[in-house]
């Protein structure tokens, strides 16, 4: 069995409403995958299943050769705006997570590791602040820093930059790519988004989920991943072609729902 993330025939339903239908996915370790879909495609639900926050209705999920049975620190999660407890300072939030990941460390070591992780995402000035004192962008930096500090080999991100303005969003995309590229061995990343540009800019691979119920309708390799120059990339014809193709796939799926079967 491969050591990556494997989903075999995963189904999920709320009551009688199917949310996910027969999801098959095989992610090799170290891959950065964008999970792209419209709202209602069940992409966040799929992420929750991988995180172990909810059990799948049918099908099997494996991470690193082991079946996923519940949440675990081998999988880090970054949500849209609530990875931090508001009653703890940023450093304490990270130190708490580090303490759970490495219970044998002393308090001073945890706090030092927390500070280090926060410095890596450019938050050296906000160490002892509380989440409510930070901007949305800074909070998401701290959330990424927490995932880094814990060092989970699989990172699950659920529209982590969805609430940010475009400038901050682009900046944090680059922060994420930087820390992902700097790590050895590479972290496996599942990045959920509904933004085509974001999916293409970040992912080595883009998995597209269709809506109602969610199922994989396309699985593309991104030939130009590893680029650094955002503007040149967005202007290139390769990028625009792929972008067109994805937009068409999504539009077809939307149309298919509108036409009665």
């Amino acid at each position: 069995m491969s050591q990556g993330l494997i989903l075999e025939g995963v189904h999920f339903a709320y009551g009688n409403t199917p949310i996910l239908d027969n999801i098959q996915l095989n992610l090799p370790p170290g891959q950065f995958v964008s999970l792209l879909g419209a709202s209602g495609s069940g992409k966040s639900t799929l992420l929750r299943l991988i995180a172990g926050l909810q059990p799948a209705g049918r099908g099997r999920l494996f991470w690193a050769g082991r079946p996923i049975k519940g949440p675990g620190l081998d999988r880090g999660v970054v949500f849209q705006d609530y990875a931090l407890f508001p009653w703890m300072s940023v450093v304490d939030n990270l130190a708490l997570a580090i303490g759970k990941a490495r219970p044998d460390t002393r308090a001073a070591e945890r706090s030092e590791a927390a500070r280090q992780a926060l410095r890596r995402v450019g938050l050296e000035d906000a160490l002892d602040k509380y989440p409510f004192e930070l901007s949305g962008g800074m909070r998401q930096r701290a959330a990424i820093a927490r995932a880094l500090a814990v060092g989970s080999p699989l990172l699950l991100l659920d529209e982590p930059f969805g609430a940010l303005d475009p400038v901050n969003r682009a900046r944090l995309q680059d922060v994420l790519l930087e820390v992902w590229e700097a790590a050895t061995p590479k972290t496996t990343v599942v990045f959920v988004t509904h933004d085509v540009d974001e999916a293409l800019y970040l992912g080595q691979r883009v998995v597209i989920l269709g809506s109602t119920p969610g199922r994989v309708i396309a699985d593309l390799n991104v030939p130009f991943s590893g680029h650094r120059d955002r503007r040149a990339l967005f202007a290139s014809s390769d990028f625009q072609q792929l972008r067109e193709q994805i937009a068409e796939t999504l539009a077809e799926d939307t149309l298919r729902q509108l036409t009665p079967a």
């Binding site: 995180a51 926050l53 949500f79």
Partner: protein, 271 residues
């Protein structure tokens, strides 16, 4: 341009807005003190003009103030005595109410076990326990502490349970992702998240504590604030009685203010 500006700014007389800015804080003070002043004036008037004979039921403010100053040592002793009942009862109710409330609120099984009992037991007016508590417990002090405890316990318990029960799914998810469980989960997540509820419960509980304390003191105390008021009423010493009422009101207000301050500091992270 100028016509647009004139439609935007209200036609103001020169100097008027400056005067207004100055007058606003004064107006605020006047608003806040209006009822106080009316009450005081009504008191002066009642004491002066009501025909009440030689031992007036309405002593004048000056007489009451003199009685208050005279009785201060006695009132201070009464405060100490009352607080030696109130504080243990309220503290015990807080500790047990928060601990059991959080535990019950975060466990569906404990909820199914405890709520059928709590729904019946909590609304019983704690004052009805006073005679029995006095009969059953060895000292008056213990029975009064017990009654204060019962009165403060239920609101604190119910609010703590509600706080734990309504814990937002995102904090629960976040805690599960980090693998927080058991005592650590309660202490680092459930307790702080439920603090706004807990403080509401404690404020209600503290109010009940004062009510029950003073009622219990009417039954069998030989010291205390409620006892002070009852004692001088028995002797028809109304200046001292009124002084005792005002003093008790002040003490209650101060205790509530202290709790409010603690809450304000503890909940700094709630916007």
């Amino acid at each position: 341009m100028s016509s647009a500006a004139s439609t935007l700014t209200p036609p103001a007389q020169p100097g008027f807005s400056g005067l207004r800015r100055l007058a606003r804080p004064l107006l605020r003070v006047a608003e806040a003190s209006l009822i106080w002043l009316l009450a005081l004036a009504a008191w002066f008037a009642a004491a002066r003009y009501l025909p009440l004979g030689r031992n007036p039921l309405v002593p004048s403010p000056e007489v009451t103030l003199r009685a208050l100053i005279e009785a201060l040592p006695e009132l201070w002793q009464g405060t100490l005595s009352s607080f030696s009942i109130l504080l243990p009862g309220f503290a015990l109710a807080s500790v047990l109410g928060i601990a059991s409330g959080l535990a019950v609120g975060s466990s569906p099984r404990l909820q199914r076990m405890c709520f059928p009992f709590a729904r019946v037991a909590a609304p019983v007016p704690p004052t009805v326990f006073i005679p029995y508590a006095i009969a059953i417990l060895p000292t008056f002090k213990l029975s009064a502490i017990f009654v204060v405890f019962i009165g403060a316990f239920w609101p604190i318990f119910q609010n703590a349970a509600a706080g734990a029960h309504t814990l937002e799914a995102r904090w629960r998810d976040n805690a599960r992702i980090l693998g927080l469980r058991g005592w650590e989960y309660q202490r680092r997540v459930v307790f702080p998240a439920a603090l706004p509820h807990i403080f509401s419960g404690m404020a209600v509980g503290l109010g009940f504590s004062f009510i029950l304390l003073t009622v219990a003191e009417l039954f069998g105390a030989n010291a205390g604030l409620g006892r002070f008021v009852q004692y001088y009423a028995d002797f028809a010493d109304y200046p001292k009685m009124v002084a005792g009422i005002l003093y008790t009101g002040l003490v209650t207000y101060l205790a509530m203010t202290v709790l409010e301050r603690v809450k304000h500091r503890a909940l700094f992270w709630v916007r």
